[in-house]
């Protein structure tokens, strides 16, 4: 089972007894109905005597536990203690640069909290992502003894989260009231979104998986919004700028926190008057839509620059419209035949030889000739092998023309769609390149 498999991986990879101590509790708790509460209780019930601020830690651990139980992915990768944890990011969303950026941004943000020794950004990240690496427990031995590794909830963390308890404490102390609750609620909301995805909370050692990508965006935006709500003033804003600047390398939408009207934050070294801000917003909108179009229009990956992209888009739209026109002509030629043959279809044998299809196949291709000359022959060639599929489906139902056509359509889509459309679209590609 997945749990046991992961458990074995865990034991083999890390040498921390604390994890092992913790895991059974975690697994047992996960089996219960409410994994979060039970995990929390299990965590709390674990030896916490050595820890000073139980209250704060409980709150923190609750938060982390909730968030951590989300980060269940089926994979466990062996972590090194203080490595950049490139191994834990096997999903495309979890690239190490992301976390490094966040780390730097987090460190910028928490300049006021110098007591965070290794990673001041940790509590923020812990609150956001809360996937806890198991091997970090091993690395925790480096940490001053007051940091009790057992306090750390089993859910694994990506990187060096050794400083979990201490920075958590201070983090909670400094950002106690509304922003925390706000962030909490928002993170809980992102948490609750992620819950259905990794349902088995049996795996405390999780990489930061897909939830991170989404959580990061919303969480960073939330943090920036919550930072705004705080009265920390310019300092946090300037730090947020840097954070946004760095984080915006990944996501260009960060400068626009989710508010009623669009807030644009001037990045470092950019003009801040209203006109240039508005222009920047407009340019960003345009560029983001061009990116979407780039994905939509085939063959535009290498193209950069608006003019060439627009050319490609125009060509593509024109080719699509021409295709529609051509297909409509074909439909008009096909339709009258169907109407004439309605009664004939009913009476004749449905399962005629497929060879008879071919000569009649040539007929519709000759009629809509003219400027579509390059198109039909290749079109016909592609379509002929696929006609047989249609013949199978259609011949059985063509007697019940109107009633069952819809069912044919649905039935045929499954089998015909792949082949037929792939045959057609490459020919349209040909046209575009011409």
């Amino acid at each position: 089972m997945e749990k046991e498999g992961n458990a074995s991986n865990l034991f083999s990879s890390s040498s921390d007894l604390n994890c092992r101590l913790f895991r059974p509790n975690w697994e047992n708790s996960v089996d219960q109905n409410d994994p979060f509460e039970s995990a929390l209780s299990s965590m709390v019930s674990s030896p916490t005597a050595s820890h000073n601020n139980n209250g704060d830690n409980i709150v923190l651990r609750e938060l982390i536990g909730r968030l951590g139980s989300i980060c269940n992915s089926g994979e466990i990768s062996p972590f090194n203690n203080n490595s950049a944890n490139t191994s834990c990011y096997s999903t495309p969303l979890n690239s190490p640069p992301n976390l490094n950026l966040m780390r730097e941004s987090g460190s910028n943000q928490f300049l006021s909290l110098p007591t965070f020794s290794p990673d001041p950004a940790f509590p923020e990240r812990a609150a956001r992502f809360s996937c806890f690496a198991n091997t970090n427990f091993g690395g925790l031995s480096e940490i001053p003894p007051k940091l009790d590794p057992t306090k750390i909830p089993p859910p694994s963390v990506q990187e060096n989260w050794e400083s979990i308890p201490a920075p958590e404490k201070n983090f909670m102390a400094s950002r106690s009231s509304t922003p925390d609750n706000a962030a909490d609620s928002r993170e809980n909301s992102t948490v609750s979104e992620q819950i259905p995805i990794p349902e088995n909370g049996a795996n405390p050692r999780k990489r930061k998986s897909a939830p991170k990508g989404k959580g990061k965006d919303t969480a960073v935006a939330n943090v920036s919004a919550s930072e705004n709500s705080e009265s920390s003033g310019k300092r946090s804003k300037s730090e947020e700028e840097k954070a946004n600047q760095k984080a915006s390398k990944d996501n260009s939408k960060l400068p626009e926190p989710p508010k009623d009207y669009i807030h644009v934050r001037a990045r470092r070294g950019q003009a801040t008057d209203a006109h240039s801000l508005a222009e920047r917003v407009r340019r960003e909108k345009i560029s983001e839509r061009m990116k979407v179009l780039q994905d939509l229009v085939p063959g535009c990956n290498k193209v950069t620059g608006k003019a060439v992209m627009l050319d490609e888009i125009i060509n593509y739209v024109q080719s699509l419209q021409r295709q529609v026109e051509f297909l409509s002509m074909k439909l008009t030629t096909v339709n009258p035949r169907m109407d004439f043959n309605m009664e004939a279809l009913m009476s004749k044998d449905m399962f005629q030889s497929r060879g008879s299809m071919y000569p009649s196949d040539g007929y519709p291709f000759q009629s809509p000739c003219g400027n579509e000359a390059p198109f039909p022959p290749s079109h016909g060639r592609n379509q002929r092998p696929q006609m047989e599929n249609f013949a199978d489906a259609a011949s059985q139902v063509s007697s019940f023309w109107e009633d069952d056509l819809h069912s044919i359509v649905q039935m045929g889509f499954g089998q015909g769609q792949m082949q037929n459309f792939q045959g057609i679209l490459p020919t349209s590609q040909m046209k575009v390149e011409l």
């Binding site: 989404k214 965006d217 919303t218 996501n251 939408k253 989710p258 009623d260 909108k285 345009i286 839509r289 979407v292 179009l293 939509l296 608006k306 627009l310 050319d311 125009i314 593509y316 739209v317 699509l320 295709q323 026109e325 297909l327 409509s328 002509m329 439909l331 008009t332 096909v334 339709n335 009258p336 035949r337 169907m338 109407d339 043959n341 004939a344 004749k348 449905m350 399962f351 005629q352 008879s356 299809m357 009649s360 196949d361 519709p364 006609m387 249609f390 013949a391 489906a393 259609a394 011949s395 056509l405 819809h406 359509v409 649905q410 045929g412 889509f413 037929n420 459309f421 057609i424 349209s428």
Partner: protein, 172 residues
């Protein structure tokens, strides 16, 4: 689609078609719906008699626009164009007799716009129905949706022609 979810959060007031365009037009269900509706429309077109290939094309475009449920500009333009087109044709016939040249020249000589991007934007806006005076970001949005819809239309019509060809040919 984190990007689209963010943009959704950003602009809740504006109607948002970005998250829908790719997923909506590419779903098989949508294709099936379109095909069935198109079949119905084609039958209605067929019955009165042959209207030429443009009738089919207009029917196809209309059904496509109807599937958009009025959320996009081009779809609304297609649906309303059919009403205004007839009037325009009638008016043009009258005006053509009276003023053959003047009207055309006035409308066909705008100020020369050198920036190539600008001229291409104009061409694109002419291609997408109903988007002549739309700003560039909105135009790009409409184009995205329009391209996705056109792709679906091509797929569905190809499938239908194949189906009809096979259906017609097999018993013959």
């Amino acid at each position: 689609m984190a990007e689209s979810s963010n943009s959704d959060a950003n602009s809740r007031k504006r109607r948002k078609i970005d998250p829908d365009s790719q997923t909506r037009w590419r779903s098989e269900a949508e294709q099936r719906i379109y095909s069935s509706k198109l079949m119905d429309a084609l039958h209605h077109v067929r019955r009165p008699g042959s209207g030429g290939h443009d009738a089919v094309r207009d029917a196809a475009d209309r059904v496509l626009a109807a599937s958009a449920r009025g959320r996009t500009r081009w779809s609304r333009a297609i649906l309303t164009n059919r009403l205004s087109l007839r009037l325009a044709q009638i008016n043009r016939k009258h005006k053509k007799a009276a003023k053959p040249s003047a009207g055309k020249s006035c409308s066909r000589k705008p100020a020369k716009k050198l920036p190539p991007v600008e001229s291409k934007v104009k061409v694109l806006s002419r291609l997408v129905p109903g988007c002549r005076k739309v700003s560039l970001p909105n135009l790009l949005e409409e184009t995205t949706d329009y391209i996705a819809a056109l792709e679906m239309q091509v797929k569905a019509m190809t499938f239908l022609t194949g189906l009809l060809n096979a259906g017609a040919a097999a018993p013959a």
